[in-house]
């Protein structure tokens, strides 16, 4: 007998009576979504740039490039100085990655990004610093709304990113910048 069959057979002697799936109907808080989003982004150590949109972002990117930084941009209208490389490993020296997010979540400051906007899947993690771009109107109230709107086609990868990478594994001291990006700046358009 295969192990799969063995496990499925064993499940036949489970003791609990069948339980119905509950209705998931949680009232969203829809007042000041951008304000909620910004407050939560701050708690997860990210920064929001409400004004200036892509123009502001391009200025920042240009400054980084002028300082000799390596910048890759996956956002239309923002130009960096690096192209998508042949292998993911070649992104190891990227200082800044500019990536579009599909939607923001007000209740926790997270932003959904999807494979198709990443070049390589590892881009938002391997870069030293991350610059995300979202449309103000894409911000939803909570995770229930976010999962109903997010897209994840078969074969794809996507991730909710809430702030820069962080750890508190050494004596509970919060350190920003573990393995992923050391900072996160979000630009609203």
């Amino acid at each position: 007998m295969s192990s799969k069959q063995h496990i499925l057979n064993a499940l036949k002697s489970a003791a609990m009576a069948p339980h119905a799936m509950p209705t998931i109907d949680v009232a969203p808080r829809i007042d000041d979504l951008v304000g909620q989003f910004e407050a939560n982004l701050i708690t997860v150590a990210g920064t929001l740039h409400r004004e200036g949109g892509l123009v502001n972002l391009q200025t920042t990117v240009d400054e980084h490039i002028a300082q000799g930084m390596q910048v890759i941009s996956m956002v239309e209208g923002i130009s960096g100085n690096r192209e998508v490389s042949a292998t993911a490993h070649e992104l190891r020296d990227i200082d800044y990655a500019v990536i579009p997010g599909d939607c923001g979540v007000a209740e926790n400051g997270a932003i959904w990004v999807n494979t198709k906007n990443l070049g390589h899947r590892v881009t938002p993690f391997i870069c030293e610093n991350l610059l995300l771009v979202i449309e103000a109107k894409s911000i939803v109230a909570n995770m229930h709304q976010a999962t109903s709107l997010m897209t994840l086609a078969p074969g794809e990868f996507g991730t909710f990113i809430a702030g820069p990478s962080k750890t508190a594994d050494i004596e509970q001291a919060l350190v920003v910048g573990a393995h992923g990006a050391c900072s996160l700046n979000v630009y609203l358009t």
């Binding site: 489970a14 003791a15 995770m143 994840l152 990478s165 509970q172």
Partner: protein, 457 residues
């Protein structure tokens, strides 16, 4: 594991408790997490509603596991994910090794997975010439220190920063005497980046497996799972059968409670959904039973499988905080460790590492009735004739004694008298371990029964 005194929970806890200042420090560190959890839970008005939905959703899934596991497998296959089934830890390890051997893998980067700990996978692979690098910072620390984790979310919570500094000085060449968490974390970042970039394969645990998507969700704060899984072409994910959830809608409920209950964050930094391998890559999911279907045969124990491994019950547990994670004789310590581990505990002692205060059940985001389960374990141990250290001898006598009105009244009368006229130093030895950290009580003038007759009868 031997049943010698040195392995029972109380004795191991005694060793931990020798350094009183460390116990205070440990307890405080965990209580800080509990306080952060309370603030996070209190900040969303629908918290109790989410706990209720979470509980019912997990109950629903656990009582329809066959359908959801098969649906999950079929959708995974559609997404070009290879699915394996393992009855136990040994089979899990064998499957993992076969996949790695086929690809000539020499180095694996692993992100935190309590399941692979439960299966003792690392030593199995290392014996076969494969280097396994734990990449979560806490896990890496204890791996370098050659210790098991002492907490499921913060595995090195028992270590002080000076101890981590000494360890990193020896193993990673950091400056002698350095103990600044920022400096040490940056050193670990450099060290592990090299490992990520040179690994042949990546392994992760699974926070949720979404049946109707054929996708697995992995949550980390450090980004180690994603740095791992998205660099090499080969990625493996190990999951218990209890990790499956029906759909994205239900995954959202868990994502709302997991981090809030674990560390007080509104969500983990990265909540990643893998619905297939990267271009030219290979993705494997290993679905593991390892005793879970046995637990499902018992209505009360089955509810332990609602657990989403947030660690909230450890942080609030007064026994865990003061006895340390290494005193439990099981990979998973604390209340949930007792709930899922007591049946494997040869010392039969961990079911008693609990005051039945119920704090764990109160904070649980999926309403696992932990105190009820732990109490049930005691009953199961008693029924199996496996009561620990003498309880099986004296408890029946205590039972007979308490059942006899004459014997009880008579001896309580003597006890009240003794407490009044004899010196404490003479009586204290009779109170055993109970009296070690307590003063003897002040004797009341009469029995409650006599008092009741006189005043209320």
């Amino acid at each position: 594991m031997s049943t010698s005194k040195s392995n029972v929970h109380a004795h191991k806890a005694e060793i931990f408790c020798k350094d009183e200042s460390r116990v205070d420090w440990h307890s405080k560190a965990l209580w800080t997490l509990r306080e952060k959890r309370d603030r996070a839970a209190g900040s969303i008005p629908e918290w109790e509603q989410l706990r209720q939905i979470g509980s019912e959703m997990k109950l629903h899934t656990l009582t329809h596991l066959t359908e959801y596991l098969e649906e999950f497998e079929q959708n995974c296959i559609k997404n070009n994910i290879k699915v394996h089934w393992a009855k136990d830890g040994a089979e899990h390890n064998r499957i993992v090794h076969e996949i790695l051997a086929k690809h000539h893998v020499k180095k694996v980067v692993k992100s935190k997975s309590m399941l692979t700990e439960e299966c003792h996978m690392n030593p199995y692979l290392e014996e076969r010439g494969i280097e396994v690098i734990d990449t979560d910072l806490g896990e890496r620390i204890i791996q370098l220190a050659e210790m098991p984790p002492s907490h499921i979310v913060v595995p090195a919570i028992h270590m002080k920063k000076e101890e981590v500094g000494d360890l990193f000085h020896e193993k990673l060449g950091t400056n002698a005497g350095a103990s600044d968490p920022l400096y040490l974390t940056r050193a670990a970042r450099q060290h592990l980046r090299e490992k990520f970039l040179s690994a042949d394969a990546a392994m992760t645990g699974v926070n949720m497996a979404i049946a109707d998507q054929g996708a697995v969700v992995v949550c980390t704060n450090e980004g180690n799972a994603d740095m791992g899984a998205n660099l090499p072409k080969l990625q493996l994910h190990s999951m218990g059968i209890d990790k499956v959830v029906p759909n994205l809608e239900s995954a959202a409920v868990i994502l709302r409670t997991l981090a809030r209950n674990a560390t007080g964050q509104p969500i983990t930094t990265y909540s990643s959904f893998y619905r297939g391998p990267q271009d030219g890559g290979e993705m494997h999911v290993i679905i593991v039973d390892n005793g879970r279907t046995d637990m499902l045969k018992d209505k009360i124990l089955a509810e332990a499988l609602k657990c989403i491994r947030c660690g909230g019950c450890l942080n609030t547990c007064p026994v865990y905080r003061r006895s340390g994670g290494h005193s439990y004789n099981y990979t998973i310590p604390g209340p949930i460790g007792i709930a899922v581990g007591a049946q494997h505990d040869d010392t039969n002692s961990i079911a008693w590492a609990c005051t039945l205060c119920g704090s764990c059940s109160y904070v649980c985001p999926t309403k696992v009735p932990l105190d009820k389960i732990i109490h049930h374990h005691r009953r199961l141990k008693a029924e199996a004739g496996k009561l620990p250290y003498g309880k099986s001898n004296y408890m029946p006598l205590v039972g007979k004694f308490m059942a006899s009105e004459t014997a009880l009244n008579c001896s309580m009368g003597i006890a009240r008298m003794a407490l009044k006229i004899l010196p404490g130093s003479l009586l204290k030895p009779f109170s055993g371990a109970w009296g070690k950290y307590r003063e003897l009580p002040v004797a009341p003038n009469s029995s409650f029964e006599a008092w009741f007759k006189k005043n209320r009868g």
